[in-house]
């Protein structure tokens, strides 16, 4: 777990300010940016994965039952999944945190 930026002393930095904790950006939750939230109607969903494939934020996860759902920790609410869903089973609603 990377420390918050404003707690890092210069001695804590890796040589050359490199970052060896790969993929650590996932500690930053981009979901807080969201003003719209995708909602999947599972009755219509054909589990094709188009929403997953087109998500720029790697924020669609497949659950054990095979359905694809937005990971709200990262979903920025762009609406691409809803727009691209071939069966139109994703709608967007206004987010209320």
């Amino acid at each position: 777990m990377a420390r918050p930026m404003d707690e890092i002393r210069w001695q804590d930095l890796e040589i050359g300010a490199a970052v060896s904790e790969h993929g650590s950006s996932s500690e930053y939750k981009t979901g807080t940016w969201r003003s719209l939230r995708p909602v999947v109607d599972k009755d219509q969903c054909i589990r094709c994965g188009v929403c997953w494939l087109y998500c720029p934020d790697v924020a669609i996860k497949q659950s054990e039952d095979g359905y694809f759902e937005a990971d709200l920790e990262y979903c920025k609410g762009c609406g691409i999944c809803a727009r691209e869903c071939p069966v139109g089973c994703i709608s967007v609603v206004i987010e209320e945190f």
């Binding site: 993929g23 650590s24 939750k29 981009t30 094709c48 720029p56 790697v58």
Partner: protein, 308 residues
């Protein structure tokens, strides 16, 4: 997904090498393009990235969105940096200082890094014949600094340094044809791609990785922020760019051109132009002239591919 007879999203590589938490804008098709390129390349890849949107959004200290070794040095030199990685490793493997391993050496940059400031360095790297892939993510302006025009901005687009005005129709020059410039280096593989056509894109990345020597990929990456379109339409506008032949999907492999996708029917460019805020000021005559130029350019490409 239209126009693909076999739909196989679930057959796509599950691993993610460009991960969530990156700070790209909502609906950034460039981030999607990076994600898809990385899926096709896989784990054994070293990425050298130019300064730009993708560099900034993926690497704010102390975190990184990268699951592969990644290096950013400066704006114009991703191609030179990856040349060094490739040559350095080649020497070390040959001398027994490193165990042999097949690694994809990939440089990435935006259109400014590629067509403008890094053009000389890209040319040098392609000419020297390194076993590398250069990926240009073309969102048609300097988006990272606030939508300034580049030589890859299309005619008529209003940007913050080619604004439409009383005596200006926005960008007054035609888009620089980077893939053709890459082809002029007689390298084994050049292709255009767009993340709205993900399978075509990933096929081309895999091909580029398999081919020995330099490969150049030019990926149209819709930028909702800079193109002034709703974020959910990023994929749609990429598809329209291809289906209007504004951005044809083709490849050039060992000297032969081939169109990897022929839109049928070809949609009028009006459908692509209208709705984008950057073209909002253009009148019918302007759009007609874009249509005419698009037709001519596409016909040239068809001819080249048929000759082969």
């Amino acid at each position: 997904m239209d126009k693909f007879s076999v739909f196989s999203a679930r057959l796509v590589e599950k691993g993610e090498y460009f991960t969530s938490g990156h700070r790209a804008c909502q609906g950034c098709a460039e981030a999607l393009a990076v994600r898809l390129v990385m899926k096709a390349l896989g784990r054994n890849t070293i990425v050298a990235m130019a300064t730009g949107c993708m560099e900034i959004v993926s690497s704010p200290l102390p975190t990184t969105a990268w699951e592969v070794p990644w290096i950013h040095v400066a704006f114009e030199n991703a191609s030179a940096v990856i040349s060094g990685c490739e040559s350095g490793m080649k020497a070390m493997m040959r001398k027994g200082k490193l165990p042999p391993k097949k690694i994809n050496f990939v440089a990435m940059g935006g259109d400014g890094a590629t067509a403008d400031i890094g053009m000389g360095q890209l040319s040098g790297a392609l000419e020297r014949g390194h076993d590398m892939i250069y990926v240009c993510y073309d969102n048609e302006a300097y988006m990272n600094t606030g939508i300034q025009r580049s030589s890859s901005t299309p005619w008529g687009a209003s940007t913050t340094t080619s604004p439409a005005g009383k005596v200006s129709k926005g960008q007054y020059t035609q888009k620089k044809d980077m893939p053709k410039i890459a082809i002029a280096h007689n390298i084994p593989y050049v292709a255009t791609a767009c993340p709205s056509f993900p399978f075509d894109l990933m096929d081309k990345v895999e091909k580029a990785a398999a081919i020995e020597g330099p490969a150049y990929l030019h990926i149209l990456s819709v930028c909702p922020t800079g193109w002034r379109i709703p974020s959910e339409e990023a994929i749609k506008y990429g598809r329209l760019a291809v289906n209007t032949c504004v951005f044809p999907l083709y490849e050039y492999e060992h000297g032969e051109y081939s169109l990897t996708y022929r839109p049928h029917p070809i949609l009028p460019v009006r459908e692509y132009i209208e709705g984008q805020g950057r073209f909002r000021h253009l009148g019918s005559e302007d759009i007609d002239s874009i249509q005419e130029r698009t037709r001519m350019e596409y016909e040239k490409l068809v001819k080249l591919s048929e000759e082969d």
